[in-house]
């Protein structure tokens, strides 16, 4: 029996390890365990005033703090029935697009691309091909500008609050973003080409995929769709996506009655083609194997480009006017909301007492939802690698590439379970 342990999977967000036992060409054990120290987020949110929740939940994760902030804000708003202005929604959409590009670009160029160029890391890649990393940095700069202008900080945004924004961007600031976006759009298009042309492993792994679908491409929240299945209203998400814990891991996992499923860029792209610009649609047509999890990298590149298209579109029509924040009337109630974070659907659910204090919180992150699917994919992938006579080192590298394609965000998925290390 062969035992493979990846002790600390690198170039992903957070701390994860994998135990793999292979017997006679078959995978006997495949356990993805997460050894992030737990922070009991759902516990600490209880008793907090509703107004504190966005600032706290933002800290669940450094790379998708914007998404946790907005999800939290919108959950409070849905609970207390707070209606925000169209302008607020547009600015939020812009902020989310900026965050999406930030996250995708960092992942694609810094964490994924070195693997495909035979480099150990981004520094080595930068030394080898300056133009590649220069492109990444330029796109990153534009996305940082969006997030900084609208949210006031790149990580853990400040100005987005319940009801709207504490500070509205000035017209000249928005003009600057628009100018930079237009200037840099070509780089985003090039990014799609780069990632389309990488040689991905041939791996067919069909799973259910889910994405929000009721609004615009980057800003939906009410309806979850899945190919060939009935749509699910966001309010019912807990009935369909069931969370559970595994021994030896501090993360939550989730599945539906039909097993593990996938969320994220590839799921969104395939389910929401109709919401894309013409150019992105033509990019999607070139994805010949939507069941291949490695295609998630291509999907992230296309979404980066689409982010440019949609942000430009919003900015060309946006005229900022001063607005009064809506009044907040607290009551005993429940709020649920969902949004598309870089790695997939993010759910926040809170219950409040009549004074607006949180009495219950449940946060279901995209990585929680993808983890079981990652494990299942490894189980299917490893025998294929063994058939091709890959040695242990090669298998390790391929598995890491597969895990990285999902872009797991471990901090996100470990907000609940206690650290429980299992010794071999």
């Amino acid at each position: 029996m062969k035992k493979i342990t990846l002790n600390h999977i690198t170039k992903i967000e957070g701390h994860a390890k994998l135990n793999l036992e292979i017997e006679k060409g078959k995978v006997k054990t495949c356990e993805l365990s997460i050894f992030e120290g737990s922070r009991f987020f759902e516990g600490i949110l209880k008793t907090q005033d509703y107004s504190e929740l966005p600032d706290i939940t933002s800290r669940i994760c450094g790379i998708c703090s914007i998404f946790h902030t907005i999800a939290s804000i919108r959950t409070v708003e849905s609970a207390f029935n707070i209606k925000v202005s169209e302008q607020t929604d547009l600015l939020r959409e812009l902020l989310l697009i900026g965050g999406m590009i930030q996250s995708h670009i960092l992942h694609l160029y810094f964490l994924v691309l070195p693997d495909y160029h035979g480099c150990k890391n981004a520094l080595e890649l930068a030394a080898k091909d300056k133009s590649l990393i220069r492109r990444a940095l330029e796109i990153k700069k534009v996305s940082n500008l969006i997030v900084n202008t609208i949210g006031a900080r790149e990580i853990h945004p400040i100005s987005a609050i319940i009801g709207g924004f504490t500070r509205l961007p000035e017209e000249k600031e928005l003009k600057k973003i628009l100018k930079e976006l237009k200037k840099c759009k070509r780089e985003a298009e090039q990014t799609v080409k780069i990632f389309q042309n990488l040689k991905y492993p041939d791996f067919d792994f069909k799973s259910d995929t889910f994405a929000l679908t009721d609004g615009s491409y980057f800003y939906s929240d009410k309806i979850i769709s899945c190919e060939g299945k009935a749509c699910i209203p966001t309010n019912d998400y807990e009935k369909h996506f069931k969370e559970y814990f595994k021994e030896g891991s501090t993360a939550e996992f989730a599945k539906t009655d039909d097993g593990s499923y996938r969320v994220g860029a590839l799921a969104r792209l395939m389910l929401n083609k109709h919401l894309l610009s013409e150019k992105s649609k033509s990019f999607v047509k070139q994805i010949k194997s939507p069941n291949n999890p490695f295609m998630n990298n291509v999907a992230q590149a296309i979404e980066t480009y689409e982010g440019f298209e949609q942000a430009i579109n919003i900015l060309e029509n946006l005229k900022i006017k001063e607005e009064k924040l809506p009044e907040i009337k607290v009551k005993a109630t429940t709020g649920v909301s969902a949004l598309e974070a870089p790695r997939g659907i993010l759910f926040h659910k809170y219950k409040f007492d009549k004074k607006g204090k949180c009495t219950f919180a449940n946060i279901t992150t995209p990585t929680t939802q993808n983890l079981q699917n990652i494990e299942d994919a490894i189980r299917v992938y490893v025998p294929e690698l063994l058939k091709q006579n890959f040695n242990e080192e090669q298998i390790k590298l391929e598995i890491e590439k597969l895990i990285r394609a999902y872009d797991p965000c471990i901090s996100c998925s470990t907000h609940f379970l206690e650290f429980n290390f299992k010794k071999d």
């Binding site: 600390h8 690198t10 170039k11 967000e13 957070g14 701390h15 992030e36 120290g37 737990s38 922070r39 009991f40 516990g43 600490i44 209880k46 008793t47 907090q48 005033d49 504190e52 600032d55 706290i56 800290r59 669940i60 994760c61 450094g62 790379i63 703090s65 930030q102 960092l106 810094f110 964490l111 150990k120 890391n121 981004a122 520094l123 930068a126 990393i133 940095l137 990153k140 700069k141 940082n144 006031a152 900080r153 790149e154 990580i155 853990h156 400040i158 100005s159 609050i161 504490t166 500070r167 814990f245 890491e400 901090s411 379970l417 206690e418 650290f419 429980n420 290390f421």
Partner: protein, 259 residues
């Protein structure tokens, strides 16, 4: 400077190690426009987020991110300290415990419920700052750390000069100072008890300070609590506000024990 520094013409050996937190501080520095240029000046030995072969060798400079929340983390931290000439507590979780330390204040029955569900591991300890366990040479505050402060730190470090920490409250940098202080407008702002050095970024964006850079050693917490009481905040609300970032045992502030 008290430590023997790297030799002339030699790249300092640097590491980034992460414990319990959101990794936002590491991401923050990856968002610096010319970060790869900066990193090139170092021999990067340990950076899981960026590279795959990571060695716990000797470090000239180590950045420790996150709060320490398990016994195994304490052990690892101590090993790292032994190997490092200069240790930076990197971000508010590492300097003060930050959001992860909020779990220390969970009510007993609440914790029990979690225990009942998942077995609280024996490995777990109260989440706290790095300094609770090892000596810290520089505290880089912030949730997340400020890119500019990081870049300045690196520049000064490479010149082998002592880097100064900010010891004044956010108020000194506040645009509302002496005019329209939030406290006068009945907004519960924590600027007076919080480490400055952020140029009052939140207040400049019309948002009160939530103390994300952690408690100032010299702050008068009793006075701040009294002020908040006068604003009509309940005891529980005040505790909740303080416990977000001001929960550092080291500073003996312990607002949770004060009442």
């Amino acid at each position: 400077m008290p430590w023997r520094l790297f030799k002339r013409g030699e790249k300092p050996k640097v590491g980034f190690v992460s414990f319990t937190g959101c990794q936002g501080c590491q991401f923050s520095i990856l968002f610096i426009d010319n970060i790869l240029k900066i990193l090139k000046k170092f021999d990067i030995k340990y950076f899981h987020l960026l590279k795959e072969k990571n060695k716990e060798s000797d470090f000239d400079l180590i950045f420790v991110e996150g709060a320490i929340s398990t016994k195994s983390q304490v052990k690892k931290l101590k090993e790292i300290r032994k190997k490092s000439k200069y240790l930076v507590a990197f971000g508010t979780c590492a300097t003060c415990g930050g959001i992860p330390a909020m779990r220390n204040f969970l009510e007993a029955d609440e914790l029990k419920k979690h225990v009942y569900n998942q077995k609280l591991s024996k490995d777990s300890i109260d989440a706290g700052p790095v300094e609770k366990h090892v000596k810290v040479d520089y505290h880089m505050y912030g949730c997340p750390v400020i890119k500019k402060e990081f870049v300045n730190f690196i520049k000064t470090f490479l010149k082998k000069k002592e880097v100064k920490e900010c010891e004044t409250p956010v108020c000194l940098e506040c645009p509302r100072k002496g005019k329209n202080c939030y406290l006068l407008e009945k907004v519960p702002c924590l600027g007076a008890v919080t480490h400055g050095g952020c140029n009052a970024l939140c207040i400049r964006n019309n948002h009160q300070c939530i103390a994300c850079r952690g408690p100032l050693k010299t702050a008068n917490f009793a006075a701040e609590v009294k002020l908040f009481e006068n604003l009509g905040l309940s005891e529980k609300d005040i505790k909740n506000k303080l416990h977000k970032f001001i929960n550092n045992e080291k500073n003996n502030t312990k607002p949770h024990n004060k009442d």
